[in-house]
């Protein structure tokens, strides 16, 4: 030990160790592993409560001073030092590594890679963690209820069992019990022993003598060392104590089970020994006449802990084991039959996905319908399904085409024909969702035709649907949705514009007011307020270019990279996920406009709340609705307040939906200066008006245009003869329907000016 040469790095480290406030003494370093590793024994002071000082140790056996061995590997500081405890240190503590180093227990100091801690906080960080670990070990607070119950470490076991943890946890009730599940397994033979990789399915078969030949079996596979088989998984859980309280196992014990007898002791500890015995007895009877085997039986004891198990939102810890069974005695060596603890691997389950995405495993999957399984829709569906919230219905009329491979979330299969890839998008997407354990119904149809038939509507969404998400970027679909009264829920629309420079999300308000049509009109009005954005969306180059596909077929789509589309899809799916968790907006609708940053790397989203629109019906001719948006309403009210003793007015701007017979009045232009106001009449002037209207419409690519006029009445009177005459005059000169809106002290009146006929007379 004398005269060893230590590197400067190690000398510096040792100086730091001796400077640590919790360190009492640093021993003489020595070299091990052929000189590669420097080992030093360091005495830590452990501050026990005063009342334990006489005993000199804590009830858990931690002494007032603990000698800890710190081994600096030759790779230090790239590799972290290993900290180990005296050989007789109490191993029945949580946060203990499953292995020994030179017979010495190794504490689990840090929830992560120790080398990362070393680089983050330096050696002081590791020393601090050691001091804290010793202190908690002494106080019995290594398990921190805030962090959760530390499950027994099982990751180093050779056998592993895949199971849907949340599914099994849901079995646990106050009565206690057991259940058999089908088990599929691979048995790997190596060095005379076998290792099981099993999958406990969600199927619980009826177990009796007749069923046994069907439930058990094992066959060789092409690989010599591998056999494939089926058997059973037995899940056992505890009920309540005689006192009526739930059986809770609050003592931490490391995994030490090696025989059936010890497995039964473990079950006793967890309060489910009776349940285990009953199940094994029944299994023994069922198997008694069957000659095959041995088969691996997977046993999962569910232990109820005092607080939630770390990494889950349940206090139920899964403790899986594997033991071979065969008739007639079930266990060939009786109670001494070898039993191996197994590692638990999560099955892909909806709950696991929800948890990994920061949601509650216990939350319900919200039912929703996706319309449009194209590149944007498929990404939204998969992002949300990966958070456990995939759609229940996918509607898309089209089939996959080669150009979809550029951006669609699904990936083409290999092979010459790629014929399968050409299936309906909705079906292919639903297949992918199935792999994420989320069943979805595919509807290969046009939304407009679905909405025309009550029969078809039933397939498109359920009554308790959370929302219908329209990712089609189709004007027809939007119009069809806006005009339909067959939707049980609100519509959220996601769309991209200007080659992926702008993305828009709209979410309808309560009672579908404002609706998806109102909101897109509102989006245009918002873009009008931001002319740079409007230029990008409505400029000459912005129109979706027509991609040439195979001869004779085509599709409107924009050229942009998958990455750019994914930027938007990611943000949009985060919006949907948040709204699924927190609910849709309560005080109206929402328009979110996202813009790509100048460097093309990020997005900035702006949220605009849109209050419900005021609805007015026309009183002549065909029934049309006028939706007066808050912006227009405010301007009208302001203008009438300015002219309390005269009639006044202006020009309406917005959009018309012929499908839903709706005027969306999003904005109002002031009356020209040559207008004339008097108590009985308002005459709209002309000076500069046409140019003003043209420039307004051109700024937004004619997505917003003149809808007609509005004027005020000083009394609560409806359209006058003059008004009707004007309506007629307006209608003659226009190809699109127009409206005359009249503001009175008690509300609006509306008069249709339709070029198809005349402003029809009558009341």
């Amino acid at each position: 030990m004398a005269d060893i040469r230590l590197s400067d790095t190690i000398l510096r480290a040792l100086a730091l160790v001796s400077a640590h406030p919790a360190v009492f003494h640093v021993g003489t370093p020595s070299l091990v592993d052929g000189g590669g590793t420097v080992v030093v024994d360091v005495t830590f002071d452990v501050n026990l409560p005063n009342s334990w000082r006489r005993a000199g140790e804590s009830p858990s056996g931690v002494k007032l001073q603990e000698v800890v061995r710190i081994a600096f590997p030759c790779g230090f500081p790239l590799e972290a030092p290993e900290v180990s405890l005296r050989r007789d240190f109490n191993r029945n503590l949580p946060h203990m590594q499953p292995w020994l180093t030179d017979g010495r227990p190794v504490p689990c100091l840090y929830d992560g890679d120790l080398a990362e801690l070393l680089h983050h906080e330096g050696l002081a960080g590791i020393l601090n963690q050691t001091a804290v670990w010793l202190e908690r070990a002494a106080l019995g607070t290594l398990i921190d209820p805030k962090q959760g119950w530390e499950p027994v470490r099982r990751d180093s076991f050779a056998d592993d069992l895949v199971a849907d943890a949340e599914g099994l946890r849901r079995l646990v009730d106050r009565k206690g019990g057991y259940r058999f599940f089908e088990l599929d397994y691979l048995r790997m033979e190596a060095n005379g022993s076998s290792v099981i990789h099993g999958h406990i399915s969600g199927v619980s078969p009826k177990l009796n003598t007749d069923a046994v030949p069907r439930l058990f079996g094992e066959t060789p596979t092409a690989a010599n060392t591998l056999r494939r088989g089926r058997s059973l998984g037995l899940v056992v859980w505890p009920g309540k104590l005689p006192s009526g309280k739930l059986a809770i196992s609050d003592v931490y014990l490391p995994e030490t089970v090696t025989t059936v007898a010890e497995l039964k002791q473990r079950a006793e500890l967890y309060g489910c020994a009776r349940e285990l015995d009953t199940a094994l007895n029944w299994l023994k009877r069922c198997l008694s006449g069957y000659t095959g085997g041995p088969f691996p039986l997977a046993v999962v004891l569910l232990a109820r802990r005092p607080c939630n198990v770390i990494g889950s939102q349940s206090p139920i810890e899964l403790c899986p084991y594997v033991v071979d069974i065969r008739s007639p005695n079930l266990f060939a060596e009786g109670e001494a039959t070898p039993t191996r603890p197994a590692a638990h691997r999560h099955a892909v389950s909806r709950a696991l996905l929800a948890q990994m995405a920061g949601g509650a495993a216990t939350s319900e999957r919200p039912p929703w319908t996706l319309i449009g399984a194209g590149s944007l829709g498929s990404k939204l569906a998969l992002h949300l399904a990966r958070a456990g919230n995939g759609p229940e219905v996918v509607i898309d009329k089209s089939s996959m085409a080669p150009h979809n491979a550029a951006r669609h979330a699904l990936i083409p299969t290999t092979g010459d024909m790629q014929i399968l890839w050409m299936d309906a998008k909705a079906r292919l997407l639903c297949d992918a969702l199935k792999g994420l354990q989320q069943e979805a119904v595919s509807v290969v149809a046009n939304v407009a035709s679905i909405l025309s038939s009550r029969e078809q509507v039933r397939r498109a969404w359920s009554k308790r649907s959370w929302a219908v998400v329209n990712a089609t970027a189709s004007l027809v679909v939007r119009d069809a949705l806006a005009s339909s009264n067959l939707l049980p829920t609100r519509v959220v629309e996601t769309s991209l514009f200007a080659g992926g420079l702008i993305g828009i999300i709209t979410a309808e308000g309560p009672g579908r007011n404002p609706n998806t049509g109102d909101l897109m009109a509102e989006s245009y009005a918002l873009l009008h307020e931001d002319l740079a954005a409007a230029g990008a969306v409505f400029g000459d180059n912005a129109a979706a270019s027509r991609q040439t596909l195979g001869q004779g077929c085509g599709s409107m789509t924009m050229a942009m990279s998958d990455g750019r589309l994914s930027l938007f899809a990611a943000g949009m799916s985060e919006y949907l996920l948040r709204r699924q968790r927190e609910g849709l907006p309560e005080n109206g609708g929402e328009v979110l406009i996202g813009r790509l940053s100048d460097d093309g790397l990020g997005l900035v989203w702006h949220v605009h709340l849109v209050s419900p629109v005021a609805e007015v019906s026309t009183t002549n001719g065909e029934a049309w609705r006028v939706h007066v948006h808050p912006r227009a309403l405010a301007k009208i009210q302001e203008e009438t307040a300015r002219w309390p003793t005269s009639e006044t007015g202006g020009v309406l701007v917005g959009r018309v939906s012929e499908a839903s017979h709706t005027f969306h009045v999003v904005d109002v232009l002031d009356a020209p200066e040559d207008s004339h106001r008097s108590p009985n009449e308002f005459v709209l002037g002309t000076k500069g008006l046409r140019q003003k209207l043209t420039s307004y419409s051109e700024g937004v690519g004619w997505s917003l245009f003149c809808l007609g006029t509005w004027h005020s009445h000083l009394s609560a009177s409806g359209p006058s003869l003059t008004d009707r005459a004007t309506a007629t005059a307006v209608s003659i000169a226009r190809l699109t329907p127009a409206v005359l809106l009249i503001h009175t002290p008690t509300g609006f009146h509306a008069l249709l000016a339709d070029s198809a006929g005349v402003a029809k007379g009558g009341a």
């Binding site: 730091l16 400077a19 640590h20 406030p21 919790a22 002071d45 452990v46 501050n47 026990l48 409560p49 005063n50 009342s51 334990w52 000082r53 006489r54 906080e121 330096g122 002081a124 020393l127 601090n128 001091a131 804290v132 202190e135 106080l139």
Partner: protein
């Protein structure tokens, strides 16, 4: 929630924060020296250490539920005016952001005029002025006062000056569980001194020379279990006081028992002996009664000297001979002796914190701070010549 006792490194002086299990905070004495407020000086910045342990109220004021001055000596009240709001609550200023004192705990000495034996420093005078303001407020409104106007008088004054203050008075030997006007289930304190007045002038003269500090025995709950820690603290009380406390309470010595003792007068020999250490050295004799009063340690007790590092020399306080006595007392119960000025090291003393859980008090483990590892060393600490 665990309660806590925190002793701040203030050299020879006291500054102790008690956080009760219910979350209330009581500061006993303060000694925030100018050097501690100077960022270029190595003296621990105890004002910041205190502030980071306090919370702000709805008005954004950092506050203490109670502030006790054990006695008005400089090393127990320095920094009061600079760091604490004094005066009516509505004069608290956001800009100054001083600590707001919801309730003062004062000895009745504030009613006495300064005398030749009683020369007060400016901070002590300010404390007295504030205490008198609060008593006046109590008298003016006839009882009910709010945060920042409350005061509790610990001990009766001579000549009946406190007779009309029953509602805000704790008499000697009594216990109380009231903090800031409210009952606190997690704390009970017994007022052991000042001692009740006697008619014996000689006796009174002897006591007045012996630093008539407030002496309290706190009983604190930990993790919602009552009486998990007894904390005995007695300012600068000297030998005659402890002698008399033993004479009065030896038959109920539980009143003097402790899990943590803050040694009186910064580990001074004068609390244990009538003899002078510097003059008589090892010939100085321990006063048995005083030692008994300070020996009622419970199993595993910690005795803490709130002082500078203790050297083996003739200085006093802190006195090495006193330390030896306290170490012996601690050893007798498997306890420990600690010095705040040496914790965790003489070179860089830091707060000494005790956490009180269901198993009683425990010294909190010191971890290594990044600043310790990454400190600039002498750079910036002293002039460095470069040739």
């Amino acid at each position: 929630m665990a309660s806590k006792i925190t002793l701040f490194p203030v050299g020879n002086g006291d500054m102790t924060l008690i956080e009760t299990d219910s979350g209330r905070k009581i500061l006993i004495d303060l000694n925030i020296r100018a050097a501690a407020d100077d960022s270029d000086d190595d003296t621990p910045d105890v004002a910041s250490m205190l502030r980071e342990r306090l919370e702000r109220d709805a008005d954004g004021r950092l506050y203490l539920d109670a502030l006790l001055l054990s006695h008005p000596d400089k090393d127990h009240c320095t920094g009061l005016r600079k760091h604490f709001h004094l005066g009516p609550p509505d004069e608290w200023s956001k800009k100054d952001d001083k600590i707001f004192i919801r309730e003062m705990w004062s000895s009745p000495m504030v009613f006495r005029r300064a005398s030749r034996n009683n020369v007060l420093c400016d901070d002590a005078k300010a404390f007295n002025t504030e205490a008198r303001r609060r008593v006046q407020k109590f008298r003016d409104v006839g009882g009910i006062v709010g945060d920042g106007d409350r005061i509790l008088i610990l001990g009766e004054d001579e000549n009946g000056k406190t007779d009309d203050l029953t509602a805000i008075l704790v008499r000697g030997d009594e216990t109380f569980s009231r903090i800031n006007g409210q009952y606190d289930w997690s704390m009970t304190a017994r007022l052991l001194a000042p001692l009740p007045k006697t008619d014996d002038d000689e006796e009174e003269e002897a006591l007045s020379k012996n630093q008539s500090s407030t002496i309290l025995q706190f009983s604190l709950a930990g993790d919602q279990v009552g009486d998990r820690c007894r904390f005995l603290t007695g300012g600068d009380a000297e030998v005659a006081i402890w002698e008399r406390l033993w004479q009065r309470h030896s038959w109920r010595s539980d009143w003097l028992s402790y899990d943590i003792l803050q040694t009186p007068h910064h580990c001074s020999w004068h609390s244990l002996s009538h003899d002078s250490w510097s003059e008589m050295g090892e010939d100085a004799e321990v006063c048995e009664d005083a030692r008994n009063a300070l020996s009622q340690a419970r199993d595993g007790a910690t005795i803490v000297a709130s002082s500078k590092p203790i050297k083996d020399d003739d200085s006093d306080p802190p006195c090495i001979r006193a330390k030896r006595e306290y170490v012996a007392i601690a050893d007798g119960v498997n306890g420990t002796f600690k010095c705040v000025g040496e914790h965790p090291s003489e070179k860089s003393p830091d707060v000494m914190e005790f956490e009180i859980g269901k198993d009683g008090p425990r010294l909190k483990t010191k971890l290594m701070k990044a600043a310790t590892v990454l400190s600039s060393g002498v750079i910036g600490g002293q002039p460095l010549a470069h040739g």
